[in-house]
């Protein structure tokens, strides 16, 4: 489950999930909900496999979103479906989406970057919580 929170110039998302895998998947959904206004219309016609390695889970979460953002901007593919697994410090992901079509998917924010500012990743009684501020 994710929600957006206020930041004077930029945009934050808060994600609360029962598992670490689901937290990473929902963070990705939050990112693309910030980028396009109709994420429910994104079809899973293109599939990519992504891997990342970072010993800090907090930084791994930020890097995961940064990689998705770069892939969106470089390859013009917008994603809607994410399957994340972990092997130690390594993240393995299968991501699915389709070429970005502004008329179909709708334009929302141009996310410039995933910042490190007030980055939060912690375990709590409900599972895992993260807060991320993106530059828009």
């Amino acid at each position: 489950m994710f929600e957006f929170f206020e930041h004077t110039a930029d945009l934050g998302f808060r994600i609360q999930s029962p598992s670490k895998e689901q937290l990473f998947e929902e963070a990705a959904q939050a990112l693309f909900a910030a980028i396009c206004s109709n994420p429910e219309l994104i079809l899973p016609s293109v599939q990519l496999t992504l891997t990342l390695h970072e010993s800090s889970t907090e930084l791994l979460l930020r890097d995961w979103l940064a990689l998705l953002l770069t892939t969106f901007e470089s390859d013009k593919i917008i994603f809607s479906s994410f399957i994340v697994t972990f092997d130690g410090d390594q993240l393995n992901a299968i991501v699915m989406g389709e070429p970005f079509q502004p008329k179909k998917h709708g334009r929302n924010h141009e996310v410039k970057a995933i910042t490190y500012h007030q980055l939060v990743y912690q375990e709590n009684e409900s599972g895992f919580l993260a807060e991320i501020i993106v530059d828009i």
């Binding site: 945009l11 770069t70 910042t115 490190y116 530059d135």
Partner: protein, 487 residues
Amino acid sequence: MNQQPFQGRLEKVDTCCWRIPKSYKQGMLVDGIIFANESLLQKAKQDLALEQVANVACLPGIIGASLAMPDIHWGYGFCIGGVCATDPQEGGVISPGGVGYDINCGVRLVRTDLTSEDVKPRLKVLVDELFKRIPSGVGQSGKFHFQAKEMNRLLGEGPSFLLERGLATLGDIEHTEANGYLNGADPSQVSSVAQKRGMDQCGTLGSGNHFLEVQVVDQIFDSHAAKVMGLFENQICIMIHSGSRGLGYQVCEDSLVNLRKAPEKYKIELPDKQLACAPAESSEGLSYLAAMQSAAHFAWCNRQLLMHQTREAFASVFAQTWQELRMNLVYDVCHNIAKFEEHQVAGKMKKLWVHRKGATRAFPPGHKDIPNSYHSIGQPVIIPGDMGRASWVLVGQEGSMQRSFGTTCHGAGRLLSRTAAAALAKGRRIDQELASLGIIARAASLKGLAEEHSDAYKNVDEVVAVVEEAGLSKRVARMKPIGVIKG
């Protein structure tokens, strides 16, 4: 998330200047100085902006003070409106967070010989033509494509590269800050990912607060300076606000990853990870500077190509060449950049890295780094306001060299978060409200327009009054928007 109003001690220096003493927080090496009147200061206290001024005061090698302009608001790492000068001879650092992701985001102003009466009857046609020609919004490609070798030259040479393709003139280059060229640029330091991300974006506006506006000169405050710049009352001008697009964002992203271990390596304690930095003359620092300056070249080329497409749109609508319409560039300023500049410190001239994040260079009359044509009046400073009220042209003043490392404000500064602005605009059609004020707006996203309405910003008139009172810059002309293109 911690977003408590600032509770620290603020000492009044004068009616438009406040100090956060370095005793406020452990690790502060210098004071924080904020240029603001009482009302703007109260607004700045509501979020984490002043805490960020104090955090920047902890950066190694910082000289003078951690400064903030009256358009200060909460950013990431540095506040927006922040200025920090570091001395490389004293272990001074370079921090990508002090420049921002949008490297060389900036503004340019184009004059015309047209008056309001010439344009108003054709305003809708003009704005539609501009909206058709100027690529804007998320994921929008441009019409200019550069092969790898050409991109290498663009990143290494800046807008001078565009001269041979007929996309720029010598007058454009002369009226671009630093002549659009920074001699430390090295395209080999720009990753292939960054180049790919920006490949089809040179000549595109982007989204968020970026815009192109058709404006009318509403009031002249300094007739001599206005005349030197070719400005007169009731004149049509065009203001363009954009930056280095995806290429610059990725350069900053890559650099922050590269700097991840630098604080430990150089024994730097940081109050915020987003302030990641390294000594300016370290391998990490030099690598960032070379890439950042290349991205700055990309940004200048982006604004140059946006201006080129604007000139084409005007020529098409008014059936005259842009030269006949005398659509000359008044000036182009950066407001997210670090520049290596000479400043007087304790009676001695020193070369410092001046980080300006949401702040604009404002060199005074006679300064060697401003074009000959503006020597007598000082450097033009272009200050965008908001799309419903006004924008300004200022000139740099001597006080900027004495008080702010040759710097002034960069805009109105946000007052409301985007969420709050959108909530305030719920159920309203901002484009129709603007139309009732005689302003025609076109946007790739109506939501984007809602987040950018006037209530989301401080009053820019109040901001420029403070920088004038502080002696940082002087008011020359105020412009009001009549046509707006947003991403």
